[in-house]
Subunit: 417 residues, 2 copies
């Protein structure tokens, strides 16, 4: 028992160090903002310790308690749900301007808000997104180095492993987290350097091809052509932020992703996993695109939430990301369904409704360039959902219309190593 | 077992409602900021619920984790300890300007920082106080309705009841909290209305007397004459904020307090309880005042921290408050030493080093009026410490030099009821 605890503490400290060194690659004298679930005190304190040891000038931890949102939706007046003060994003904006790196630790209950009227959630989500627009834009353009990683909260663990007692579910989910983030290896930072170098070879290759489109098909009915933005850039693994710091925005990450052309997406996309969005679960999503836009959609459950998402604005009915992930990725090998985008999106190829990343188009941080290239810049949302399966095929379609096999039965068929 | 839990939950919900209804007396459409220890999720959520039910337009909960300060002091560079960003107080200032009420829930480990170099703490405390100056001034002038109340964190409970297992210590401390705040009565809000009316009769009486000074003496060696500011105002119990809302700034509260004259304090003040300040314990304080200013001081332990406090600025070496509390007050009856000002100051008469409350002088929110009356306006600190005992005598000294007995053997000798 003592040994198990000691071992967990060691892993947790190593994980905290990984978030600081590989995740945001904090520089001496750097500043960092950490957001964490209110249950994450142990991890947050270790992250702060690692950051100060790396020479941080400032570490600001903000604890998040999603139950307060639940309380608002359950008990608050319409006025309260619709109230977002003018100054709500000011501190975040000041931190972006001051060059604060950002470590976001996620672990929320994926179905916490399942009993809440989706209209109330949509109203508030829209107002929050509007208030946070400048911060989101800066984050999307990778103005500062940031990373997203997870912790095993009891509520989340209980959803992932509903048949286990909560304590065991938490232990099991931590095991998954340590495993897929390589925190259980003797030198996680070195392992990540190797992993991101591998992803870089892949994105370098894809960037040289400049495919006109991708075609994805699966046994579930996906038959989707995704036109790509002109001068699109594939990204994956590590990224260099505008402040020059090379960081890893997601831990884990096994995807390579780029920007679709907002008007050139056609065919059926069928979800391969449930999607947790806005505290609600959406299952069995089927969407048909026509000239880039959602033409019809349905879901077996959570359809009202899906509708609210798609109807947010015009850009929300178009794609902002297409990402390829092999079926053998570490997250996929755990065989668990995490109901958490950070994890599930790294277990399956996926697409995202809503705004694209400006960094996925050459020169795309200039809005005019991004627009001319066909990027989907204008939406308040960016919601990934999974369509890849172990039987998914992906082709690249060249500018002259040839089809090049990229993935077969869920695995890359390129040999780059 | 089930019944015990249900009963605790009921008490906690009643306590949350008391903070909202009596503590800040939240008005329909009002907004409120809640700060709470990171362990206080259950209470914070209940406070949010009670606030929305009272018609709140906005409830903002900020969780505080003092261990992050410990990590900073242990691991941070001097640069990090000395770094307080320019925008640190901006959000708080915006909330004061927007009329947010404030509920502060305290429960920190009173000796968390006992191993830290007091100079590091003093450096940071001064910078934080400077950054928060406008907020402190607004709070001190009761610009908005605010209240301070407690929760039983494990770390605090273990200090108060070191001989009990932590779980029992927490349960016992909660029992104390519910008892001294009357949350265990069938109608706490009504009980508080009665209690604050009683304190109001006392302050009305004292305000009519306009004593020139008080004299306090105890068996421990206190022999202190505290000249009072001209046109001083005794306060206690409920107060009307500048926004017109009548609230109770401290739960519990059994003190009546007013502003000393900054140049007219003479003699010895000897502490009757240890003082927890800045995460460190200061024991056995003895201070001699001369013409208002600290002339000599010593402490059996924590003297370095006491020195840092007194040397903060000129006003820190003078008094900003004198408060009278009967030895039979509810907190005193628990016979516990809480190492927490909110509790210990309501168990014994006390004085405070540092700035006075402008509301303790007629028209004192005008700085010129406050200064002319002899108020001690200029300090960054306000630190209460306890000198009252069950054998303390207090006299009022009239403008013509007569001595009027106010307390004998720690109890009021006025009969007002």
């Amino acid at each position: 028992m003592t040994q198990t605890l000691a071992s967990f503490d060691t892993l947790l400290a190593r994980y905290a160090e990984l978030l600081v060194r590989t995740g945001v690659n904090l520089q001496p004298g750097g500043k960092v903002r950490v957001t964490a679930p209110v249950e994450a005190t142990a991890l947050a304190r270790l992250v702060a310790r690692a950051a100060y040891r790396a020479g941080a000038t400032d570490v600001r931890v903000v604890y998040d308690d999603p139950h307060l949102a639940l309380t608002l939706f359950e008990e608050g007046s319409d006025e309260a749900v619709g109230f977002v003060p003018e100054w709500a994003a000011r501190e975040r904006e000041a931190m972006v301007a001051d060059g604060y790196a950002s470590i976001a630790i996620v672990g929320e209950d994926p179905a916490l808000l399942s009993g809440v009227d989706p209209t109330r959630i949509a109203t508030r989500s829209r107002l929050m997104a509007q208030a946070m627009r400048r911060v989101s834009e800066a984050t999307g353009a990778f103005a500062v180095n940031w990373t997203v990683a997870a912790m095993a909260t009891p509520a989340w663990a209980a959803r992932v492993y509903p048949d286990l007692p909560t304590e065991d579910a938490v232990a099991r989910l931590w095991q998954d987290i340590f495993s897929v983030t390589r925190a259980d290896l003797p030198d996680p930072v070195a392992a990540w350097a190797e992993h991101t170098a591998r992803l870089e070879r892949l994105t370098d290759y894809l960037n040289r091809q400049q495919y006109a489109a991708l075609h994805l098909s699966s046994e579930l009915g996906t038959d989707l052509t995704v036109g790509l933005a002109q001068n699109h850039v594939w990204q994956g693994g590590a990224e260099t932020a505008q402040n020059g710091v090379r960081a890893v925005p997601n831990l884990p990450t096994d995807e390579v992703f780029t920007a679709p052309h907002r008007d050139r997406v056609d065919g059926w996309a069928v979800a391969s996993k449930p999607l947790s969005a806005r505290g609600q679960l959406i299952e069995g999503i089927r969407v048909r695109f026509e000239a880039g836009r959602v033409a019809e959609f349905s879901a077996q459950s959570g359809e009202a939430t899906l509708r609210q998402l798609i109807e947010t604005d015009d850009g929300a009915a178009r794609l902002g990301e297409v990402a390829l992930v092999p079926a053998s990725a570490p997250v996929a090998r755990t065989a668990a369904l995490f109901f958490n985008t950070l994890f599930d999106e790294n277990a399956a190829s996926h697409i995202a409704l809503g705004r694209c990343y400006p960094t996925n188009v050459q020169g795309g941080t200039d809005p005019a360039v991004l627009d001319a290239a066909g990027g989907n810049a204008g939406s308040l949302i960016h919601v990934d959902w999974m369509i890849g399966t172990p039987r998914t095929d992906v082709d690249g379609i060249t500018q002259t219309g040839e089809r090049v096999p990229l993935m077969r039965a869920g695995e890359w068929v390129l040999s780059l190593d």
